[in-house]
């Protein structure tokens, strides 16, 4: 099982777009600017690309691994690390940690890029969001009849005149 976004990371045009493997910090910045990497990031964010897709991608990318030779898809592994850098999912962090732990000369650049991504990930704030409507006591809620543009009268949520709070409690 693989995903088209991830498949494109393994393609020859992408490899040509990345070009030479730069030092890790520079390569990370270079990869951040590529539209395909940003697309993969968004796809992970919204849930199109999931954990099983990443697993399948890694299997595919490391298929040509040979000891003593640089991995041809090393740029793709580094690109995925950059794409997953700010994703909140657990598998994103696991991918970065696993790649960063590798001490193989064949994927040394990808591992170093992953370490750069982890450093940046841990320096970012962890954001928690809470969304609530301000509660109004039921005895003080007044639902007004409002007139729509078509002239029909109905009761419902319309503009800001629907739920009003009366301080005097005269509702």
């Amino acid at each position: 099982m693989n995903h088209s976004f991830l498949n494109q990371l393994l393609s020859e045009p992408f490899r040509a777009e990345v070009g030479f493997l730069l030092p890790p910090a520079a390569l990370r910045r270079r990869l951040q600017r590529l539209s395909l990497v940003r697309d993969v990031h968004l796809a992970v964010r919204v849930g199109i690309v999931r954990c099983e897709h990443v697993r399948a991608f890694v299997t595919e990318a490391t298929r040509d691994f040979r000891a003593g030779e640089l991995l041809p898809n090393e740029a793709a592994l580094a690109a995925l690390a950059v794409a997953l850098e700010t994703c909140p999912q657990d598998f994103a962090e696991q991918y970065l940690l696993d790649l960063a732990k590798l001490k193989l000369a064949e994927v040394a650049t990808a591992a170093r890029v992953s370490r750069e991504c982890l450093l940046a990930r841990y320096s970012r704030p962890k954001t928690q969001t809470l969304q609530r409507a301000f509660p109004v006591p039921p005895d003080r809620v007044r639902v007004e009849r409002v007139t729509t543009r078509r002239g029909t009268r109905r009761t419902g949520y319309e503009a800001s005149k629907v739920v009003r709070f009366d301080a005097a409690g005269s509702c």
């Binding site: 704030p125 928690q128 809470l130 301000f134």
Partner: protein
Amino acid sequence: MPTLEFFLVCRAVTRDLFTDEITLSGVLEDIVLEADGMAQLPSAVAVAAWNAEPKSDPTDLQVMLRITRPGETKGLTFPMNLAKGHNRYRAIFAISGIPLAEPGELLFEVLLNAEPCASHRVFVHPPGSAPPTPPFPDELPPI
């Protein structure tokens, strides 16, 4: 114990998906009641950020936003947990539909583990009164 970096209440927040940077727009300062003496604040977004000690043990923290409307002594609280994480914590509270019925001070307070950290005051003006305007150009001090 984390130290507070900033706390602000504004009308909207946008967050960059790629860089995780936030942009606060429309910082709340003054609200004028409508002619009928009431107003409803459509949305207020309170943003707070804390820096944690790099080597401190990551523990869960409880953050609370307390909103006290004009004329009230006991505010309404909105609790939230900050999960253990990295070096910085950021809490975003989006509260919609705050009803206002009298002029005075609308007070937003943020509490970390039940201890007050910071507050943001919004002045609610009576109907017909204009919020303070900046000075005219000729009154501005020379650069």
